[in-house]
């Protein structure tokens, strides 16, 4: 009944898979009965790839990231990190939740080193490493500022620095710009494009915004409403380095329309 053209995986030449999900399902037993959040999710993210997952709100995108990060376990299915099954994943990926969650009692610098500190890196060394990256994150003058003194965009960049710093092989970003105003959001997206060009880290990026997904990612996965499944796997043929001007190119517009249609088809199938 539903369109299922997901199994055709696009694999970048000669790259090793960083993350693979095989038949991952998740069922919650809540007070109001069983909720099936994910059903048979298959996906692969390759080394150095920027993959975006788009889906309607409540489709289980956040559940998916919680499972990959190890905060939650799947009800069924297998998760592989670097080609090996990984049952305990806490501490192996760098997770950035929707809210920046900067600790209000720590300065920007000390918030940034949180992951390193937990990994046992001495504070002095951790601070030095964070300080070196502050300018790239537009926070050079705010090392000793408390989060309450920062704007929304700066808080998000500080949270991103905290995510990038521990050098994990996979970054999981959950709608990091969802709470920002349109202008700041556009600026942050361009900034992230530039940052990604520099760092070339593997990123799994969750959003409900198709435009954001196409602008940023190498590949866009479309998720259906609950129970969430991957219903479309679309490579983004736009050249890099990119900036905001690509949003008016024909390729961009066509892909956006195609993905929107896939999203709508998924919704129709479920409703």
């Amino acid at each position: 009944m539903q369109p299922r053209d997901t199994q055709r995986e696009t694999r970048p030449e000669g790259r090793a898979p960083r993350l693979a999900l095989r038949g991952v399902s998740k069922v919650f037993d809540g007070p109001r009965g069983r909720v099936e959040a994910l059903r048979g999710v298959d996906l692969t993210v390759y080394e150095g790839e920027f993959v975006a997952i788009v889906g309607p709100s409540g489709c289980g995108k956040s559940t998916l990231l919680n499972i990959v990060s190890g905060l939650d376990q799947p009800s069924a299915g297998l998760i592989l990190l670097d080609d090996a099954p990984a049952t305990s994943r806490l501490g192996r990926t760098a997770f950035m939740p929707q809210r920046d969650l900067l600790l209000p009692w720590r300065t920007v610098l000390d918030n940034a080193i949180l992951g390193l500190e937990i990994a046992g890196v001495p504070r002095r060394e951790a601070r030095a490493r964070a300080r070196a990256l502050l300018p790239r994150f537009g926070l050079a003058d705010f090392a000793d500022a408390y989060p309450a003194m920062l704007s929304g965009g700066m808080r998000q960049r500080a949270a991103l620095l905290r995510t990038v710093l521990p050098n994990k092989s996979l970054l999981l970003l959950d709608e990091p710009f969802g709470a920002l105003d349109a202008l700041t959001r556009a600026a942050m997206q361009e900034w992230l494009l530039g940052l990604w060009e520099d760092l070339r880290r593997t990123i799994l990026f969750v959003t409900h915004d198709i435009e954001e997904a196409v602008l940023l990612a190498d590949r866009v996965l479309v998720m259906s409403p609950r129970p969430g499944r991957i219903v479309r796997d679309a490579p983004v043929p736009l050249p890099r380095p990119r900036d905001y001007t690509v949003v008016t190119t024909p390729e961009f517009v066509v892909l956006r329309a195609e993905l929107l249609a896939a999203l709508r088809a998924g919704e129709g199938g479920a409703g």
């Binding site: 501490g91 997770f95 969650l101 009692w105």
Partner: protein
């Protein structure tokens, strides 16, 4: 909480003015009505009593201050320890927490004579009474604070591979600190009362002892002098806790300013 972000000096002015006006009114009324000194001494008489007996008063104040500080410090340690146990374990929470709450209903004044029987006339029973007074606000506030830790922040740390100890040190304890200090401030205000109660029941020194001795001789001006000093003692302790808050939690004032 009440302090204005940029004008705490101005915050002191209204209460000081009101206090001064009250003292002036009191002085005038006593002078006009010629109230006898043993019944109600004028503020000037109280000041005179303070001046005449300052050596004696200083000795007694020191005794009370020692009891108060020891009891307060002990209550802080005990309160944090019990709150930690309550926040860590469901079993401890269900067995101990109701008792902690119920203990507040026990009249401490009635228990104080027993402490005298068990521990004698020296420092110990007074310190225990102070602990009984201070323990509750510190414990209850700290429990609330430890529970107030942001679940999402805890999850973030866990995703970074943090163990329970690290979560405790990096998130739970710091987010409980403002609550702990709020509790300590309340405790600081009542701690001196605890020491006085302990002294009233039986003692040979301290401001409470001095008050009872003076009252029995109708030296009312000296009673008032002791009252002023014990109030000052409480205020100093309260101020010290507030100062500690400013030093320990500089970020808190920023957060508050952000919210207003």
């Amino acid at each position: 909480m009440s302090a204005h972000p940029q004008g705490w000096r101005r915050g002191w002015l209204p209460p000081a003015a009101l206090l001064l006006a009250g003292v002036a009114l009191w002085e005038a009324l006593v002078q006009i009505t010629q109230t006898p000194r043993w019944f109600l001494p004028a503020p000037s008489a109280v000041a005179a009593a303070l001046g005449e007996n300052w050596r004696l008063l200083a000795r007694h104040t020191l005794v009370t201050a020692e009891e108060t500080l020891l009891g307060f410090a002990l209550a802080c340690l005990l309160g944090v320890a019990v709150a930690t146990a309550i926040a860590f374990s469901r079993l401890v929470e269900r067995t101990i927490y109701p008792l902690v709450v119920a203990s507040q209903a026990v009249p401490i004044i009635a228990v104080a004579p027993l402490l005298l029987v068990w521990f004698g006339y020296d420092l110990t029973p007074k310190v225990i009474v102070v602990v009984l007074f201070c323990f509750f606000p510190i414990t209850v506030n700290t429990v609330d604070g430890l529970r107030a830790a942001d679940r999402a922040a805890v999850d973030l740390l866990r995703s970074m591979g943090a163990g329970p100890g690290q979560v405790w040190r990096l998130v739970r304890l710091p987010s409980a600190l403002p609550y702990l200090i709020s509790g300590a401030r309340v405790a600081a205000a009542v701690s001196v009362v605890g020491a006085l109660v302990g002294e009233w029941v039986g003692s040979a020194a301290g401001l409470g002892y001095f008050m009872i001795r003076s009252a029995s001789q109708f030296l009312t001006d000296r009673v008032f002098a002791a009252v002023v000093l014990s109030a000052l003692l409480g205020l100093v302790l309260f101020g010290a806790v507030s100062l500690l808050e400013r030093l320990l939690l500089p970020w808190q004032r920023l957060e508050r300013r952000e919210r207003t």
